[in-house]
């Protein structure tokens, strides 16, 4: 049974980390990061089987790939707080000579990152490759991927989605952050995604929804269900219904905070809604 109090505390602390990272350098992507905080916390602390020491090859453990690399603030915070690198290093987010580049990369050797992402639409393909290698290595562990909903407008995704189903890549769980927002506005106004569930199903995926995508219990229960669906010949897709900017009232339900940092006053308000739990870096 998960220790929900501890996980909730971590969620609040990660939100603070996200806000403080982007505020310090007046750049970065808080909206999508906040919307996926509960998912990341659940994934790294409750769902994935992870080895203690990071290796690029990740033999004998579950792997995670972030396709929508711009939500690096949440990725970095959760990685640091899971012990991949010192939490103090969050102070270097987006600074010159930092391992915490604007978008995640392997180039500076940051533990926890296995491929560069940021240019959208490439994560599912990379994840399929890692999943195929796991099969060749007779490694029963899973590959998890997160991608944005707007990101699915990139055509490469659909090549990958077709491939994974056609080749029974069933050790793969792709979660779509369904927040309905992208830079220029609501996805339904920019380029409607249509019925994503029907689309994934038509391609041959096993698809499920997690309606409460910002609720730890719902995420953990849903993802455990998704895990049970693996190994049955089909790749698994989870449509995670999230609220962009979750946990900070003025950042919620809008695309305004996709790639904008809060000013001093806004930071103070946002942090006051998320009081310190584990301690700031």
């Amino acid at each position: 049974m998960a220790d929900y109090k501890a996980l909730e505390d971590l969620v609040v602390q990660v939100r603070r980390d996200i806000l403080r990272q982007v505020h310090k350098v007046n750049s970065g992507h808080p909206g999508g990061s906040l919307g996926c905080t509960e998912f990341f916390v659940a994934l790294y602390n409750e769902l994935m089987e992870r080895n203690e020491n990071f290796t690029m090859d990740g033999i004998g453990e579950d792997l995670f790939f972030l396709s929508n690399g711009h939500i690096s603030p949440v990725f970095y915070s959760v990685l640091a707080r899971a012990g991949y690198f010192p939490v103090e290093e969050l102070n270097t987010f987006r600074l010159l000579n930092s391992r915490l580049q604007g978008h995640p990369t392997t180039h500076e050797g940051l533990p926890g990152v296995r491929v560069a992402s940021g240019s959208l639409g490439q994560g599912i393909s990379v994840s399929i490759g890692a999943a195929l290698t796991k099969k060749l290595n007779k490694d029963k562990h899973l590959v998890y991927t997160l991608c944005g909903d707007g990101e699915l407008q990139e055509g490469q995704n659909w090549e990958a989605i077709m491939y994974a189903a056609g080749n029974n890549v069933d050790n793969l769980i792709v979660t779509v952050d369904l927040n309905g927002q992208q830079i220029d506005g609501a996805t339904k106004n920019v380029l409607p995604l249509g019925n994503l569930k029907a689309k994934f199903e038509a391609f041959g995926w096993d698809v499920m929804d997690i309606e409460k995508g910002n609720d730890l219990k719902a995420i953990i229960a849903g993802m455990k269900k998704a895990k049970e669906k693996t190994g049955n010949g089909k790749p698994v897709c989870v449509l995670l219904h999230t609220v962009m900017g979750n946990g900070v009232d003025f950042m919620m339900h809008t695309h305004d905070w996709h790639g904008k940092a809060p000013n001093d006053q806004q930071l103070e308000t946002a942090l006051s809604q998320n009081p310190v739990t584990l301690g700031d870096y």
Partner: protein, 317 residues
């Protein structure tokens, strides 16, 4: 002059296919991916021998590059196969982010490069791929000259850790390098030694350079011929050593003069040992339909064009 003999025309892509077959037997980590061109890339034998290590991705090159990048995680050595055009321009951002920037051990193997693809025309004849690939930090760029060298290079790159672009072609061409050659990435091959001019060639133009050197020698022009199979990293030492002796250079490649081997040589010389240079390359143009021979003749990529360029460059000394 050293004598080089064509042991029988063969296509460089078959060198790739046979090299891959050999690799399949000796290295269990080698996997192959193809985007619906298995026959054209001569990957059938590998596929038949190791169906579990062969991945048909369909007509979806972007996905193929991404999958290849992912397959390296866990220790596989992916070889991707499609035409040069679809191996580079079509998937440039996928190679840039998921392979090169991510430092993944992917071997991008590209057939049907250049004009000699022939009748299919400009949509399929890429003349910009060397430039695209050499501009990527960390990318090794190789353009082999014949069947034997392509086979040797295919086998050699599996032992090198890092992204590689291996470029070869479609038509049957002279096979003249040794079957048992020790292919060393980044190491130029000195084919002829001479004092009046250096010809630096890559790919299909290497044989043409040797033919040109014979003609030039008959006319009393002592010609140095260097086979640059690795355009990046460039063998600076071999090139400088030769040009310091000869004082002028002709570069020859089946590629646009912008971005190709010639520009790499020009950069090296201008910063170390300025010397007159002539470029045998296409002149910022697309290709067109025709037989390989017709096209190489029309676009000035053959032995007689090299001879003319040598005369011109010697006059500029």
């Amino acid at each position: 002059m050293k004598k080089y003999t064509d042991t029988g025309k063969k296509d460089t892509r078959s060198g790739f296919g046979d090299g891959l077959t050999e690799l399949g037997k000796k290295n269990k980590d080698v996997v192959a991916l193809c985007a619906d061109l298995t026959g054209s890339l001569k990957m059938d034998e590998f596929k038949d021998n190791h169906p579990e290590r062969f991945f048909q991705v369909g007509i979806a090159e972007a996905n193929m590059i991404g999958i290849a990048a992912g397959m390296t995680i866990g220790g596989k050595i992916p070889f991707t196969g499609t035409f040069a055009n679809f191996s580079t321009g079509r998937v440039y951002d996928q190679i840039r982010q998921s392979v090169a920037y991510s430092g993944k051990n992917v071997k991008i193997c590209a057939s049907h490069a250049g004009l000699t693809l022939g009748e299919d025309g400009a949509t399929h004849q890429i003349l910009e791929d060397i430039g695209l690939m050499k501009m990527l930090p960390g990318m090794t760029v190789i353009n082999t000259c014949d069947y034997n060298q392509t086979k040797a290079a295919t086998i050699a790159i599996a032992d090198y850790e890092g992204p590689v672009y291996l470029r070869f072609g479609r038509p049957k061409v002279a096979n003249f390098t040794p079957a048992d050659q020790n292919f060393q990435i980044g190491k130029a091959v000195q084919l002829q030694e001479g004092n009046d001019v250096t010809i630096i060639a890559t790919g299909h133009l290497v044989w043409e350079a040797l033919q040109a050197a014979e003609t030039l020698n008959e006319n009393g022009i002592s010609t140095d011929v260097i086979n640059i199979h690795t355009i990046k990293p460039l063998d600076d030492e071999a090139i400088l050593k030769s040009v310091k002796r000869t004082g002028c250079v002709v570069t020859a490649e089946e590629h646009n003069f912008l971005g190709g081997l010639g520009e790499s040589v020009a950069r090296l010389l201008s910063t170390n040992h300025p010397a007159p240079q002539e470029f045998i390359a296409t002149q910022d143009t697309f290709g067109e339909s025709g037989t390989p021979e017709q096209l190489m003749d029309k676009y000035g990529l053959n032995a007689s064009a090299i001879v003319n360029a040598v005369k011109k460059v010697i006059a500029r000394k």
